[in-house]
Symmetry: D2
Subunit: 106 residues, 4 copies
């Protein structure tokens, strides 16, 4: 997996990973969206009793766990976008342009 | 925003966007994790009554809405990772390596 | 709906409501769990940028919206439990007994 | 905890449980909403790879785990409503009345 260096190579590695395990039939957008929100919730769990300030500086062990949940969320998001033919970066670019109109800078 | 072409430039654009609106004090990891799961749920909402098969081919209008929610989820994920100094691609690479051990290919 | 005065009568009213609209085929536990988390996220959304202190005293308009989201979450939770034959109160009672062992009072 | 037989007695038991452990300061609506969505996600997790049909008949062990997650979600929902002075049954009754107008029966 040393060749994962951007979203595109991540996408290709995830395709290969799922294909090798015959997971394609489970990976519908419906199921991937569920899997993604489960990972997002595991991330939320790390912060649920923390004050907003505490959440800025998690201890090393907690940070390592958070890093794993962040990765899991990204992985399912990339797989979901891939199944629907969505270019993540282009989608984010377009959304930021919309947000710039919705929330003009002062 | 034409200069957004990868996760790194997306991160920098989001930093600038938040700074211009003085949103920094709201953007604690606790709050960003909440915002992210809210967007993830808006994505889930598009699939809640669909069959897994239907979720593979949403009509154009729905797909455009899904693309926006996917973008919002990515945006908050990038901001959250940035606040905690997490490199998203490196985190995903490490997680896939762990998953390869946990779920060996047949 | 004046006869809704506890979880049991709420369950029966929801059964009738879904049957009258022929929603039974959509109301699988998988779909109801998705619908429930979507409502839970709409609740989370009301608190995402609030400080913990602010969240204790939402202004009246916001409180009314929160009340609706709380209701939606409960509605899907009751329907989900009903589809699986789970008695909500008995389940909560058993879980609190487990928690009392896991987190003994000082 | 044998005296838990409805939402009202559940609410009182949860108040006592939290007070005995001095958890009040953690139990802001913001934090309780986070805790609730985390439990809702643990419920979603049980169904993420299941077909809608499979989700209707989970094996006994899985059903027992689901029952625990359903209980946890209810517990946090009751605590959240309690902190905000929301009567869960009245809120559900009002929401169903609204839904009856929004989705008239054929």
């Amino acid at each position: 997996m040393n060749d994962i260096h951007d979203l595109e190579s991540l996408k290709l590695a995830l395709r290969e990973f799922a294909a090798a395990r015959d997971w394609g039939r489970y990976h519908t957008p419906k199921n991937l969206a569920m899997a993604m929100i489960v990972e997002a919730a595991e991330l939320v769990e790390h912060f649920q009793w923390a004050t907003p300030e505490e959440s800025l500086a998690p201890p090393p062990e907690k940070l390592a766990a958070i890093r794993d949940e962040v990765a899991d969320t990204l992985i399912y998001l990339v797989e979901l976008a891939d199944r629907l033919g969505i270019d993540l970066i282009a989608a984010a670019r377009d959304k930021i342009a919309k947000n710039a109109i919705k929330y003009p800078a002062p």
